[in-house]
Symmetry: C2
DNA sequence: CTGTTAGCGCATTCAA
DNA sequence: TTGAATGCGCTAACAG
């Protein structure tokens, strides 16, 4: 005998109908915000529902209505921190609207992607989907969505055409960040890029170029190295940049994890941040505060973005509003990892392998 | 007109029955692993189900069977990293067993807790629940679970009596960790504790005492300060310990986040880790690798623990096996943040506010 | 504006 | 060992 979870007897729609002295259809209308109910009736019904603590049975609704009241969060493999933040916002919005959230991690490769999407539709039948980059621009995913006519909202998609969801002006944000470095006197500023499948990779790079251009600094391709938005990208990219004959005095990493990798490389080489090297990241994830020195970065309201995308999606599903592409604002967060350009940029940095023991780590907050 | 998500026509149980030449009841029996089906019939049905890609309708099942096929992950407010890891394991186990996962964040306070639990039952009707500390030992939560006769599994509960789920021997793990410090010559070892509502707080403290006792080091209450398993605990606790007249040469923080806070305090005071101070954490979360110096810590197989707890829960729900309390093994992870005790522990550390500029940060990996 | 009637797809008594 | 009939609680045409 398996253990059943619940006493079957709970208040049903007909109990509410009886208490209100109307038919169950009227109750149904009120619940689903359908028209053709007198305002007085509607209010009375709502009151009784509240008093009886009536909770519609999800399964009955799903079965009869061909609607699941489920939103799926479809993601690939972004940073766990990022994902967790987004998830929090999405969850909050779902709960507020009495929708359920199902998590749909998608495997790598086209075949796996297709299989996972199919599995999602067969098993969970979401009424709508929230997409996280880089899946926002994955052809296989989009095709499945369109084939099944499932509405979806995107968070920071590359292409915002015909999309609903939320975005941020990464380009302008980076522009401001780099301008800050320029203001500190830096002119050789390195950049470790993110994964090219993300729109963010390109916007951030564009913002970097914008800022250099405006400052009259020539763009030096040597100072721009590839990355994947992960810690290891910071290790690899940081080494490569610092090994340059004429290394940068500041490095803009495409996100905080990458910046953490750069901080480590600097430490290993005996470079003090920000005295010998300025570093900045992007996103303002928890790690930005947790590492030492704390990162100068751009705050991205990640949870809020999840919430907004979900609300736009649900609004669209309801059909009341068309669903928009909302833009959220960023904020520059100045912390400890950026500072004035070193007064005398000697050739010492060139022989990076041979550490300069003369350098002292200067304590902050004396 | 609202947008509907799915074409209604999919293969149903009666299609399978027709194809197999049996009644739907037989199909149902096979699907639910009930007895009283001839082996040959069972196999044929399974084959046809696979060929037709038949997926039972969750809503119909839930409606008719009074079963939701939902597992709820009930959590309070632990570290996001920890939560994310656990969630990954739980999700994997749920998917493997064709269960759905619903996330159930629980608010603070008794009233909120009760309300959130009630909401969970009314709305999602989980067939089972996975509990994360410190909710594993929350009276309100447990009471709701028992009242509703919902089976649950616990991850690292304080009390393992009458519980199914998974645990780890934190006490032995810490014992090993402290023994490592003792082996490096440390005798004044500080400890920043975790939140007392967690079993882990007590086990880790006990392991710390065990190790000291075995090494013949007297337990000094002054060296043990409270904390909450968060970064800020490391800041506060670290300052307090380093401000001691006779400060410790090593600090064991109850988890990695806390250790990161200690690392920062050390940095601010110009202390080099591990040259002037050894620091270690617990959990081996990503931050342990991402900060510099990387943390010596204890690896806890968090995702695996989520997976195991869920599998035990589902086994219990099915009623086949009773459900056990599984113990997983830990592993010591030696990284960069621990080293030999400083040769001459001078009084310099006492005047912690007045930083010692003479100290040089020694580069690793020369 | 409101009520009546018929399923949605499956699990489940009770017979056979 | 199997099958036919009944209903889970709700939504959705279609009348009134």
């Amino acid at each position: 005998m398996t253990s059943r979870s619940r006493a079957a007897t709970r208040v049903r729609i007909e109990d509410v109908a009886a208490a209100a002295g109307v038919s169950i259809k009227t109750i149904s209308r009120v619940l689903n915000r359908e028209p053709n109910v007198r305002e007085a009736t509607r209010r009375r019904v709502e009151e009784i529902c509240a008093r009886l603590e009536y909770q519609p049975n999800r399964f009955a609704r799903g079965l009869a209505g061909q609607r699941s009241y489920v939103v799926a969060l479809v993601y690939n493999n972004p940073s766990l921190n990022y994902l967790m933040e987004v998830q929090g916002g999405v969850l909050e919005a779902c709960h507020a609207q009495h929708y359920n959230l199902v998590l749909a991690p998608i495997g790598d490769g086209k075949a796996r992607t297709a299989a996972d999407m199919r599995g999602l539709f067969e098993h969970s039948r979401p009424d709508g989907v929230v997409l996280i980059p880089p899946l926002t621009d994955n052809a296989t995913v989009i095709a499945h969505l369109r084939d099944n006519a499932v509405p979806f909202a995107c968070i920071a998609p590359r292409s915002t055409r015909e999309r609903i969801g939320v975005r941020m002006d990464d380009r302008a944000a980076v522009h401001g960040l780099i301008a800050h470095l320029v203001g500190l006197g830096h002119r050789r500023i390195g950049h470790i890029m993110g994964a090219a499948s993300h729109g963010a990779c390109h916007w951030r790079h564009a913002g970097y170029r914008d800022a250099l251009g405006q400052a009259g600094i020539e763009y030096d391709p040597e100072l721009v190295v590839p990355g994947e938005f992960v810690f290891e990208s910071g290790i690899r990219g940081g080494k490569r940049l610092l090994d340059l004959p004429s290394p940068p005095t500041a490095i803009f990493a495409a996100n905080d994890d990458t910046a953490a990798g750069v901080i480590r490389v600097a430490g290993e080489r005996g470079l003090s941040v920000p005295r010998d090297l300025s570093v900045c990241g992007f996103d303002d994830t928890p790690i930005a505060r947790h590492i030492y020195p704390a990162l100068t970065t751009v705050r991205q309201p990640t949870a809020e973005m999840g919430r907004i995308a979900t609300l736009e999606l649900l609004q669209h599903i309801r059909g009341a509003e068309p669903g928009r592409m909302v833009e959220v604002t960023h904020a520059l967060v100045l912390r400890e990892s950026t500072g004035p350009v070193p007064p005398a940029r000697s050739t010492q940095a060139r022989i990076a392998g041979a550490v300069s023991r003369s350098r002292t780590r200067e304590p902050r907050r004396p």
